[in-house]
Symmetry: C2
Subunit: 347 residues, 2 copies
């Protein structure tokens, strides 16, 4: 099957670009110094491909569904749930699976309640924690001056505390590299205060936009670099767009616009409209994108177009599978060489 | 199981509100004068519930996946795909299924190419068309003065033309009822020009925001009225919010905000942030919502909150199933009485 034969809308991965992105990152953050983040791709075959190519063995994720899927796929040797949970039964089942398979599950905690949840699960299997510290993003994480107390609480409950985590999510998307670098410094000053009180060998931070701006963190959590999007594309990073949504032009009219069959249910929209190279997207509805074109390139009904997502994470979460296209094969350009299920969707 | 025991985030339907919405609409547009639109709910058990309660037998949908699912669920007696397609093989399989089961599939066409596709499928089973007319929304649809020619083309290819379709999607969401009413009039003037040239008994138009502003259309396409959202909630329609996303508070801090576990992957975001009653949503990320609260109502870690989507269609498309809650049962408030799969997702 060729890309042009896939029913649309179809999410597809440019394998050459994915491998390029994987290699660039692995040169800068090899092995355990990078935790590829499952939330940005939600596909265990894709992550296994990255592991096999680059050798990263430690992954992180945002949901228990992602954790369960990664463990089931053999990617849970040292898995970080980089998020809080209060679901003791599910965390317990994950711990028990870890005991059976030898994997260590680490979970972020930022309160007595989340520590209690981890402690309950730790009775069933290996569960460790990182103290999640707020370093400026208005989300989870304790104040730096609370981290030591929480670590004491956790250790008092018999749980290993491996270190600290602090995600500078308010910094990673800004196109000004100098500003990002300065802000990473400020965030890591906060995380250092916490780490001084907590101890442990793990200092987990960062994201795609700051992957090369960290000196002190022991590991970087990054996922978007694998497939990229137009939002991160503005930062001038050395990663290429590797995920596209193929669409079919359904309607062309004399008012200067055309309509293709990929819309609000094929793209995360929080970062704005998707893009079409050389075309002007001006309206998205549930199953349609309306776009203008430059004069010499009037589209025809039946044309295929390639759309670029503005935000990769909530885009991937709409798709059941990713067609894998080997764009480097001179004879096979456009051949679908594999189909990777997006098996970590949902919760 | 109770609502409070569901793992979060969990999409759930207030059955009392759904039934209220169904009844209000059916009083105004009974039976075949309404085509409930599958795209807004994407669940055949939900639509079967509506059919059984209100007697609507004709449905419409936006994708071939929706059409296939509706036919398989026995809801394809008179099914309108209110969208263009160029996928002749899949449309042909639907036509063959219609021949086997006696259902009539009708598809929107707005070009020679889409008519050709319908003609190819019609060789395999009953396929009819509506001429899709642009009545002001910048999407598919021919000019009113082209409709007659397209109807001739279709009839010349041996396909039944049942009438015309024109969706005033640029009108349905405006809170000013008088403006909506005036604009419906303008759009229907355009559709009338087309219908004069096309003929046929079907004049298909409208949506939730204009369901009671049409006199001339033979049928209204509406789906959002069933579950509603905050966008349509601003219009003062007699429909109630019937879909919520339950979330769990994961983190509360002294800076005046808390964080719960439903974010960009649980809500369509094109109409803006979801809402939480009595709370102020100020930041959504992939798996989190950050919100403030009024002074006396400081949340606690572990609290459950109810979130309201801003746009129902792309919200439902993120969820695997909808928990059904019978809020009218005085003894069973909060009991999960059923689980409806969102079986029409994808393409």
């Amino acid at each position: 099957m060729r890309l042009a034969d896939l029913p649309t809308p179809a999410a597809w991965v440019d394998l050459t670009a994915l491998d390029h992105n994987t290699d660039v990152m692995a040169r800068h953050r090899p092995g355990a110094s990078l935790r590829p983040h499952a939330k940005a791709v939600k596909s265990t075959p894709l992550l296994a491909h990255v592991r096999n190519r680059a050798g990263h063995e430690r992954f992180c994720c945002a949901t228990l569904r992602e954790a369960e899927g990664l463990v089931a796929a053999g990617l849970g040797t040292d898995l970080l749930v980089a998020n809080e949970t209060l679901d003791a039964p599910r965390l317990g089942r994950l711990a028990a699976a870890g005991r059976a398979g030898g994997g260590l599950l680490t979970i972020a905690v930022d309160s007595p309640e989340t520590i209690q949840t981890a402690a309950a699960a730790a009775r069933l299997g290996p569960v460790a924690t990182l103290i999640d510290v707020n370093v400026g993003l208005p989300r989870c994480g304790c104040r730096p001056d609370q981290a030591g107390h929480l670590a004491e609480l956790a250790r008092g409950a018999g749980i290993e505390v491996r270190g600290v985590m602090g995600y500078e999510g308010h910094v990673v998307g800004n196109p000004d590299r100098a500003w990002r670098s300065e802000q990473v410094g400020k965030s890591m000053e906060l995380l250092r205060v916490a780490h001084d009180a907590v101890g442990g060998e793990v200092i987990s931070a960062g994201g795609t936009g700051t992957y090369d701006l960290h000196q002190w963190a022991s590991e970087i959590q990054a996922g978007s670099y694998l497939l990229m999007d137009t939002h991160y594309g503005r930062l001038g990073l050395p990663f290429r767009q590797a995920l596209f949504v193929e669409a079919t032009v359904l309607s062309v009219n004399d008012d200067g616009y055309a309509v293709a069959d990929a819309g609000l249910k094929a793209f995360g929209m929080d970062h704005g409209d998707p893009e079409i190279e050389g075309r002007g997207v001006f309206f998205c509805s549930d199953e349609h994108v309306s776009f203008t074109w430059d004069a010499p390139r009037r589209p025809r009904v039946g044309d295929r177009i390639r759309m670029l997502p503005a935000h990769i994470d909530p885009t991937v979460a709409y798709h059941e599978h990713l067609a894998v296209i080997d764009t480097a094969d001179p004879d096979g350009g456009g051949q679908v060489i594999d189909t990777w299920p997006v098996d970590l969707r949902g919760w």
